[in-house]
């Protein structure tokens, strides 16, 4: 287990460097000179040249990339073109909001998806199954902006349950988390159903039933644990996506997270922040995938020996 862990951790390093390389390259492709962006169009050529030298923009590309990497390791993500604040400070303010929302959304998706899928598998081809899967298909067919709009309309305005504008109270995250969590929930439900049904067909389940285990016990103790790997994958990957910020939901519910932030930054061409947000999202994605791989090894010993 220890060796497996170390191997996987080491393998993640080149991926992370590659991510940094992509954001670095895209940042250099952005139109305009960073020094001019910061000083403004009316700055003298001398002061621009001085700032360029200070920022290392006159150095060779390779050296610039190494400096960029070194900066990343120190937490130096550059300075916003818009208000001159360090990007790290901006992320410190906004990312916790995204994290809270993502965490709640994952909770919603697991709490809704897994029981729904188990229920559908337990009553395969009966009306419970049909109803659960119909709900799942509809859940997956709704674009998030439609779902968010409907939820806002019914619950925030119609019934007056939650305020429309966000002020930071945790209960205000319930609707956005629902809007965000229902699609992964539907996916988790379908996948749980399918992989539990697969496990129910296996010999170990039949053996358990033959030895007198109840249907419920066969389902929960024998089939479900063996069906966990694909379910964990979806949970993990959806978590990875959610940690990158949810642009639509954060925008609709006016939550000051990195998703809404990056949309604003794109409109005002604040490249350092866009770069940092992308890198942050992609890094979270890679790390969550790494976590899921490690979790596999815990849940399923066969994974450990296979690699």
């Amino acid at each position: 287990m220890g060796r497996f862990l170390i191997r996987r951790l080491l393998l993640a390093i080149p991926t992370l460097v590659l991510l940094a390389a992509v954001t670095f390259t895209v940042g250099r492709l952005a139109p305009g000179d960073p020094a001019t962006h910061i000083l403004g169009e009316r700055a003298t050529p001398e002061s621009i040249a001085r700032l360029r030298a200070e920022m290392g923009l006159d150095r060779p590309m390779g050296e610039q990339f190494l400096r960029y990497l070194a900066g990343l390791c120190r937490g130096d993500l550059g300075v916003s073109y818009y208000d001159g604040r360090p990007v790290l400070a901006i992320l410190r303010e906004t990312y916790p909001e995204t994290l809270r929302l993502a965490g709640l959304a994952v909770l919603v998706s697991v709490l809704v998806g897994v029981p729904l899928g188990l229920l559908a598998a337990a009553y395969q081809d009966r009306w419970v199954d049909r109803a659960a899967m119909a709900v799942a298909v509809v859940g997956m067919s709704l674009p998030s902006f439609l779902l968010a709009t409907l939820l806002l309309r019914w619950f925030a305005q119609g019934l007056g349950w939650v305020p429309v504008a966000y002020s930071g109270r945790p209960e205000e995250l319930i609707l956005p988390a629902l809007a965000l969590g229902l699609r992964p929930a539907a996916l988790i439900a379908r996948l749980t159903r399918a992989s539990v049904l697969e496990a129910l067909r296996q010999e170990y389940t039949r053996t358990a039933l033959a030895k007198g285990a109840s249907r419920a016990r066969a389902l929960l103790r024998h089939a479900f644990p063996n069906a966990l790997v694909p379910v964990l994958t979806v949970i993990g990957v959806s978590t990875g996506y959610l940690l990158g910020g949810s642009f639509v939901i954060e925008k609709i519910f006016v939550i000051p997270g990195i998703g809404g932030l990056s949309v604003d930054c794109i409109i005002r061409r604040d490249y350092p922040v866009i770069q940092a947000v992308t890198l942050l999202g992609a890094t979270a994605f890679v790390l969550v995938n790494l976590g899921v791989d490690l979790l596999y090894a815990v849940v399923d010993p066969r994974v450990r020996t296979a690699s």
Binding site: A30, F145, V164, T278
Partner: protein, 293 residues
């Protein structure tokens, strides 16, 4: 691949493709319905200039935010523009973006996938490393980054979506080619002295058509959703031109009192995307008799 897996990464997509099937009668009905709906939408998009009761940009500030009114079956927006006409022209934007993006994806996906799968070795390694690097990013995030750098416009949305989409197509094609090139008919063609070009174009390519067609159909749905999402964020179609996403974008301030403004374009997106998904599933069943259950 079902469109709703868009944004869930290749690993999950694989798991879902293998596991998840709807019951057969439901699938058949859904496929037919989907084909009908899409045909109607496509016709409406093509015939928009003749079907639309008003020019899509015609403002009438005396008739703003109407629910329904004579001459405006679906009402008017905040500038008094006819919603039905804008929906019809919006369909043009959605369908043409999807067609161009999928066209580019097919071109690159087939060319690079055939090269990587058939020749293997260094060619394969280079192409697949680049594709893997693209996969490390959540795709909507990457599309937003690219549109962000290029600046908001519909053309840039097309570029961003094509850039994000090709690795998936390359993977699919490469995987199929790896299997196909070991088959007897390819070996026979080679034994008879067929050139690489001839084998690729005459023997491998035609056998790829099925899975690629399915992927393209379902991919069209994902592109429509992605375009709507980017336009909704203000990064795609710029006003006053309509696309379903930009209509939602403009309607977001009127949610409280005029919810239908946001509901109509959202529903169009939901219906189109779901229909492409069901159509793709149906095509897969039809092309692969083993899947008929």
């Amino acid at each position: 691949m079902p469109w709703w897996t868009h944004g869930f990464g290749p690993r999950v997509k694989g798991a879902i493709a293998a596991l998840d099937r709807l019951p057969a009668p439901l699938r058949r009905g859904a496929t037919l319905a989907a084909a009908g709906v899409l045909l109607a939408m496509l016709l409406a998009a093509v015939l928009a200039p003749w079907l639309a009761p008003h020019p899509y940009q015609a403002q009438n500030l005396d008739a703003r935010l109407l629910a329904t009114a004579p001459g405006h079956p679906l009402g008017t927006d905040h500038l008094g523009r006819d919603v039905l006409s804008r929906l019809l022209y919006g369909a043009r934007a959605s369908f043409s973006v999807a067609a161009v993006v999928i066209g580019i994806e097919l071109l690159f996906g087939l060319a690079l996938g055939l090269l990587a799968g058939y020749f293997g070795r260094a060619v394969d390694a280079v192409i697949m490393r680049v594709a893997d690097a693209m996969f490390a990013f959540p795709d909507i995030l990457l599309a937003i980054l690219i549109t962000g750098i290029l600046g908001p416009s519909l053309i840039n949305v097309v570029i961003a979506l094509a850039l994000v989409g090709w690795p998936g197509m390359v993977r699919l094609v490469r995987g199929q080619v790896l299997v196909l090139k070991e088959r007897e008919f390819v070996e026979a063609a080679r034994a008879l002295g067929g050139s690489h070009g001839r084998i690729l174009l005459r023997h491998v390519l035609p056998n790829l058509a099925g899975p690629v067609l399915v992927a393209a159909t379902v991919g069209t749905g994902s592109v429509i959703l992605a375009e709507a999402t980017l336009s909704f964020l203000g990064l795609g179609m710029q006003p006053p031109e309509p696309s379903w996403g930009s209509m939602i974008h403009e309607a977001r301030h009127y949610l409280r009192h005029h919810p239908t403004l946001i509901l109509w374009p959202s529903l169009m997106v939901a219906v189109a995307v779901t229909a492409f998904n069901f159509l793709g599933d149906g095509l897969r069943d039809w092309l692969d008799p083993r899947m008929r259950r």
